[in-house]
Symmetry: C2
Subunit: 625 residues, 2 copies
């Protein structure tokens, strides 16, 4: 630990910004072909190297002549000229003119030497061998003189200009086919940690492996910010390999980002390499999510260590790293798009650190933006896409009240609140229905979650299969067959819920939020009545009744994996996964609209689609009107 | 002409939009690697194929145990456990626990089978061989259960989702390494016309050749809109080659764009190929610029013929074609960014067609946006970059008054008015000075143009070398040596302006707007006084006095090309181009600020830079304080 800097306090976000801004991650200058220049930023001023046009150019089809010889000509009193030749576009003007002569000329063609103006064909007539000119023109009229657009030596575009179609047009006119542009900063992406597996490779969940989320997400963020991501092979927890990869990335890149493992050994290797070949400048930042951030230098490269949790990693990347990459790439900061809204529910925050709260947006019936916190824990990747932006809570604020006005920093200027926001039952027909809509957002929180959020006035719609709901306006629905999903061929000969009680079956249940769970409970209540016993005695006899799994297919998948003998589920799921199915009943899934938002376009669109679900009903086994 | 459709009337813009919208330019579905997916649009819904996490996962470092065995534990009255093993992240949990036992567990590691909660290390103590747990936890506490983030079978992302870093993160978590996305529409770019030369190739101005502006500019526009441009070899005016290229493009692309030649032969070939192998649907649209637009089908491909002039071509592309490409690519329409402003000058429009007037923006002293028309003719490529957006004038409006309120459609949402807007003298030191500023705009309209625009209150600054100007606030300047630029070695032995009058020299002049021209006029007036003759007699004796060229280097370049014996110019230009120089005098170039905008940040920035020009003065021959 000799020489290692001690960082007693977390850096403030301002200190973190300043530390990163001081690192040099500029990529220098490189030449780019004009055809590939879209989005690049000029590194140097471009002066015109030639006149545009390079010659005096006829602006129209007509006749080139000497302007002063048309003076006095008019519609009623034309002046006669002799046509002595023709100049086509793209040809040298092989004719001279003398007094009283004109030359037929095409748009864009070179003006003959002694002509100083041209008359459009519409203002002339031919009479025998003569050309009658019916208007007077001034010298230079209808002629674009050489260099009139831009002349050799003029400043065309300044350094820092971002090249779009318009600039590419001007550069084309100048004949530029290669341009000096700001090189994209090369950003090396190093991931460590034995538990991480690159997407596409086999995953062994039993060993606690998970897919590496940060590498590709960060690489995409780098590209969005104008950098060139360089992915390095995943280093696992092999410290030698980790060290080799870090050094290789430092040698090849302007900036090295590592993220991933929270394991102590990985952190130790990074610290050691930085101690030996660089400098650690900052360790930890007082912001949540994101505390475990490292900033330093690694040989000639800048280094930032991102937190391991995806939401934290991307939040730190966006807040601190992306602006530095954009600056180095010469890209302007995107307009910080913000939206004013009101909290749809309260948000508590107990720690004394500034906090970036991911939030979703929904427009209520009055067109007002409601803001709700999205927080499934920073280990959850779904919160990445379920949020629209960030509300910042200062370190000394620990409570946002429902109804409180807040400013949301959108993730990008083109983020819009979803056209439709729903919460409720997880259902395969609903999934397909949502595919027909433009940008809906739908969260699976079960029938009870859907009813609760609808009651609280947050969502546009709730979807529930619990029959006694008294919230919302029913705008349509369907019926689905539910029962017990069993292994293919029903080896245990399960016939109904009674077998769960009576036989030695491992059952897989759904949580109490789920509508299916309510249907099961009703069936069990009927059975208890029938047998004249207490319901809880019945339930106690079911092995696994308390073991609930997350989504509507999850019990069936457990059964399929051999981790259960019967699972609560749909005929549709059994058919999809090739399992056996024991029908128990049918339940109606109802789409309930927020009564104040029935004329919101997204709700109306869904209502229309709900009248047209016959093809979907045919597609899904066990579904009917 | 047999069978060719007749189009007697120009289509309305609405008809043109509808015709293009009816063409099918969709590119279908293709697979893309996750690492390359940035900006792509999902073609299909993505459901989770696995649980994330795939196992019950410890959320913190600490101890896994049975929750009910902690009930009653508190800071003051801890419960003791025996630690029976360790589970590291990325390892299978090779231990079972029984009553009274706990397992040390790392963040992210797999929970052992019989543990249902974990206690963070901070809430425990070790005592001898025992673990003291100082808090009660509930079942599931500090555990992320399998599928809690997203479970197998759940809808993860809908079709039409645009993939950014956040979506790439979620897809990584699902292990997706290839995704079905909307294929980019392939857009073939065909250019025709003998006069066009691709940038990078040699240009023969004497034959009236110009660089092909539209091909690369349109290709860039296609890429910006989410399409994949395919450039075809330039076809010249060879009708067979043109036909071959058109057919090849139609076979290979979803949409073919042609532009370029206005020559009748090219148009004829296009018409013939469309007649034979497709259908012409629209010919000409009632909008300016852009009338000569063709829309049709060419074999299986859609076809749009763009006008030849760059501003027209890009305007038609942006208005009609780009939205169709975006739709086909599944990209959302960019927010139509608009700005409200007032016309800085009037704009007349005589034709009865809807007109898109390119305009520039400048912020005045009150922070109000002034809007001025940018029109150098649609043949001018510089107007592409000198404009910030478009003001639409309906067909029945033929006049916009100065001061009138207008809405400007910005070329893109990130367009901002320049930080500094100046007009005036063209000067090499000024060019370098502008390089130091962030996004200035400076138009070369000579000293008189600079003074006029400043007087009219349009610009922030004017730059003038005409001494008697009484407009603006002088915020700095420099002195430059001017005279006659002659061939290297001064073969005619020119000694001063008198030689222009007395010797048989071909002179090349600058326009009356130029400050240099005023200095020359003053020198000639002195000579006339000296000789006691009329100034115009003196001027008449100068061969080429009325022949003026566009930019400050232009006379010198004419001399260099052998098209003149002496040109009006700067010592700096003679030195740069390796010409001889005959000094005549010095003139002061003054930067004049709009008195109402001296505290505008861009003006203040320039004023500061003006105090620091010594290094520039050293760099440029003939320049001094």
């Amino acid at each position: 630990m000799s020489g290692r800097k001690e960082f007693r306090d977390l850096a403030t976000p301002e200190e973190a910004h300043a530390t990163i801004a001081d690192l040099d991650i500029g990529g220098g200058t490189e030449m780019v072909a004009l055809a590939e220049a879209n989005g690049c930023v000029l590194a140097e001023r471009v002066d015109a190297g030639l006149d545009v046009p390079g010659f005096d150019r006829s602006a129209l089809d007509g006749y080139a002549l000497r302007a002063r010889e048309t003076f006095g000509a008019s519609e009623g009193d034309p002046t006669a000229f002799t046509v002595v030749g023709t100049v086509e576009t793209g040809e040298p003007p092989a004719v001279d003119i003398e007094s009283g002569e004109a030359v037929e000329i095409a748009t864009g063609a070179v003006m003959p030497d002694d002509a100083d103006a041209m008359v459009p064909v519409e203002q002339t007539d031919e009479r025998k061998d003569e050309l009658l000119v019916r208007t007077a023109v001034t010298p230079g009229e209808n002629v674009m003189v050489a260099g009139a657009d831009i002349a050799a030596g003029e400043r065309a575009l300044g350094p820092g200009t971002r090249l779009t179609a318009r600039e590419v047009g001007l550069l084309s006119a100048l004949g530029a086919d290669e341009l000096p542009v700001r090189a994209k900063p090369r950003v090396g992406i190093v991931s460590t940690g034995d538990e991480l597996v690159r997407p596409g490779d086999e995953l062994d969940s039993g060993r606690g492996q998970i897919y590496d989320v940060n590498s590709y997400a960060t690489a995409t963020g780098v590209r969005e910010a104008g950098g060139e991501p360089v992915m390095y092979p995943h280093a696992g927890d092999d410290t030698e390999e980790m060290e080799r990869v870090l050094r290789e990335a430092a040698a090849e890149c302007d900036l090295v980002l590592s993220s991933g493992s929270t394991s102590a050994s990985a952190v130790d290797v990074i610290h050691r390499v930085i101690d030996e070949q660089g400098e650690l400048l900052l360790h930890g930042v007082a912001i949540k999510p994101g505390k475990p951030m490292l900033v330093g230098r690694l040989e000639e490269a800048a280094y930032v260590g991102l937190p391991g949790y995806p939401v934290s990693a991307l939040s730190i990347f966006r807040t601190f790293v992306a602006p530095a990459i954009r600056r180095a790439a010469g890209q302007s900061e995107p307009e910080t798009a913000t939206v004013e809204g009101r909290m749809a529910s309260h948000e508590r925050h107990e720690e004394g650190r500034r906090r970036l709260v991911p939030v979703g947006l929904v427009v209520n019936g009055d067109g007002e933006v409601l803001v709700y916190p999205v927080d499934k824990g920073s280990g959850a990747t779904t919160s990445l896409v379920e949020a629209d932006g960030i509300v910042e809570m200062p370190a000394d604020v620990n409570y946002l009240d429902a109804g409180e006005a807040v400013t949301v920093q959108l993730f990008s200027p083109d983020v819009r609140p979803p056209t439709l926001f729903g919460v409720g039952e997880d259902d395969p027909l609903l999934s397909r229905l949502l595919d027909r809509l433009d940008r809906p957002r739908y969260l699976h929180q079960g029938s009870r979650g859907g009813q609760r959020q609808l009651r609280d006035g947050v969502t546009d719609i709730g979807v529930s299969s619990i029959a006694d709901a008294e919230v919302g306006t029913d705008i349509g629905g369907w019926t689905r067959e539910w029962g017990l999903v069993v292994p293919d061929g029903n080896p245990d000969g399960v016939e109904g819920v009674a077998d769960l009680v009576d036989d030695d079956l491992r059952f897989v249940n759904r949580p109490t939020e789920s509508g299916l769970r309510t249907s099961l409970s009703n069936a069990l209540a009927d059975l208890a009545d029938e047998r004249d016993i207490e319901r809880h005695d019945l339930v106690d006899a079911i092995d696994g009744f308390e073991f609930t799994v997350q989504a509507h297919e999850s019990p069936a998948r457990r059964v399929l994996a051999g981790d259960g003998d019967a699972g609560l589920g749909l005929r549709a799921t059994a058919a999809k996964l090739g399992c056996g199915f024991v029908p128990v009943g049918s339940e109606r899934v109802r789409v309930l609209a927020n009564p104040e938002r029935t004329d919101k376009p997204g709700v109306e669109e869904l209502e229309t689609e709900l009248t047209d679900i016959d093809s979907l009903l045919d597609e899904i086994p066990g579904y009917s009107r």
